[in-house]
Subunit: 429 residues, 2 copies
Amino acid sequence: MSLWKPVETYRAIIFILDGIGDRPLPELNNKTPLQVAYKPNMDYIASHGMTGIMDPIEPGVRPGTDTGHLAIFGYEPYLYYPGRGPLEAVGAGARLNPGDVAIRCNLATAIEKNRKLIIIDRRAGRIKGEDAKLIIKTLNENIKEVEGVKVEFYPATAHRVALVLRGKGLSPKISNSDPGTAMENNPIKEVRPLDSSLEAAKTARIVNKIIVETYRLLKDHPVNKRRESEGKLPANVILTRGAGMIPLALKSFSERFNVRGYVIAEEDTIIGLARILGMETEVPDGATGDLETDTMSIARRVVEVYNNYNVDILFVQIKGPDIAGHDANYEGKIKIIEKIDKMIEYILNNTNQEKTVYVLTADHSTPCNVRDHTGDPVPIAFMGPQCRVDDIKSYDELNCAKGIIGRIRGVNLIPIVLNQMNRRLKFGE
Amino acid sequence: MSLWKPVETYRAIIFILDGIGDRPLPELNNKTPLQVAYKPNMDYIASHGMTGIMDPIEPGVRPGTDTGHLAIFGYEPYLYYPGRGPLEAVGAGARLNPGDVAIRCNLATAIEKNRKLIIIDRRAGRIKGEDAKLIIKTLNENIKEVEGVKVEFYPATAHRVALVLRGKGLSPKISNSDPGTAMENNPIKEVRPLDSSLEAAKTARIVNKIIVETYRLLKDHPVNKRRESEGKLPANVILTRGAGMIPLALKSFSERFNVRGYVIAEEDTIIGLARILGMETEVPDGATGDLETDTMSIARRVVEVYNNYNVDILFVQIKGPDIAGHDANYEGKIKIIEKIDKMIEYILNNTNQEKTVYVLTADHSTPCNVRDHTGDPVPIAFMGPQCRVDDIKSYDELNCAKGIIGRIRGVNLIPIVLNQMNRRLKFGE
């Protein structure tokens, strides 16, 4: 008997349940929120698919939201993590290319003393809105190029600014000029190269020039004159930190995996990261990123995108479990898990299960008794038309650890999904 | 109580069950062929040993037969995969050394038009036999060296030829001159370097010279004159593709692992690969590489080699399960599994189980509902005099996933076998 018929390819929906993993909580009789919550739809996926556990980075390593997601998106974080500067810059609207250096900046208040700039407020009296925009406009109009390198400033939230340098021969290996929170009333630090490369020396020199120039341009700026007359602190210099570069070898998600990825997320960091990887993104209506988020509104949008757009892999990130973990709010964590379960029910009922691979995963654990990300592995489950099925019936930390997937790393996730979608290219013949 | 007595070393037989892994098949009530087949001897090995699952390359990656076997032989495929050219050349009888470049070629038919060579048949009317041999003899007699690089042509099946370049400073990073199937009646492509190295530029230049020279030598060749008078297409040029190099860092199997390996296989690709690694090889009598293969003849030969030759690790590759998978023939896959099981029974009964480690593994899964290799992990089982023994009783995809080996990569297999043979060298003191 032969099974000759066209081999089908499938699409995938990957649920990223931010921070969902936990540790045994005495308040829950030494169970985790996942073990206690009523979540029949997550359990349905586990029961009809294959399960395992995943170290987003590698065993014992505590992921950030950014590095955890980078791995889930299929990129080795040790090779491809661009650092915070580029993530903030993209979040502020910059479009970055491999080789560009981006730096997080504050608008700050300095006074001149013995020919040094002393920082008296790291946030320029928490300047925001129109004042900040006018200041940044002045910077963009007057600092366009230094040593042949293009310079751009992007306003971010309140006193924050992203500085982008574009050109050849740049390096992110430079120190911060920001003297740090504990160091107010100290001078701005000189930016120094952190390795012996010509690129780092050049980049540090350029950033130092830019800092001096911002003070020259801003110290008598009309906005600052007005602020001072109103008793507010002037924004007369920038502080820099967290320089990062988009890796030169970075390929877009579609180039790397030959499929179209789409990211629905509640958080700007993830949106920025996904954009760096060339994916389409959106924050859906009703998504607040906390426990009050409208999961049913998100569910409807997921179904709409999946059924109407030509998307191969749709990522859906929900932030609530992480927030609850940070707040040590185990009851809230149980409740948001139950809300997410209803979201998943709606999506299962309104997408074609015969053509779709569904994945439950997380970027890290955020145990309520640690109140921060930990390196504990997260449970994973894959259900699809051709997936092997194990005998695990519950999506939680302990049961999934006995599933047939065993223990994988975050970067293994997308290759496994592509394999189950029958979309993976062969290595060799 | 003390266990003092001389520590014994053991030998190993590794059964490579090509393509044996599968997915749940609706036609088999969502079981895999391995779950349905009667295979008491494979289960005997699983029951008396330790089990696990293996990603031949890494999770989710779809292996070729070549890359999958390279990993099972203990070589990281990302570092050591030589590409198709060398595998074909060795299959055609060439002996290759690190640094040699080998290229797959077709004898083809070209016509001259506007000083260009236009391909009118990529296979020279499927030339074969004596005609092909005489043509290739002419090439070998007249093209022995170009720019100090030794040139050799090896006849392969029908219109196929392997071109081998030996010398210093060569690179496999060159493009194909073959315009490809869809491009007949197009000119031969110029071979170009694929990176900016001097080696690639030199190799491309040499191959272009060889191609032009083959046309000069063959256009009025007596064999071609005769073929044309008979209404057949002449073989008057070569087309090149799939250049590859034996990696410079490649050590032979015996150098790498300090044991003698011997490969009994049904397939030329594997024989070629094993020869590149310096192992002795044979295709045993009765081995047809399909479902009709004489597994009992192979069994007798395995026992003969194992009991009479001084072999440390004997690999036995059986191709049938892969063929059945490619043909979507699940009943055939069950039958060949049952035939292989009887082969294993004979080998277990006629080798010294007190001195031997027996291993069941595969180079990849070939699910009947995908009809091609997939990245699903394969079940593995090790039985030996000192192996730990888990509670898994069946050699199949689901049960072995719960074994004490857990989930390993293909390159981990030989080190684990050597360790169980008590033949592994220590790293550190």
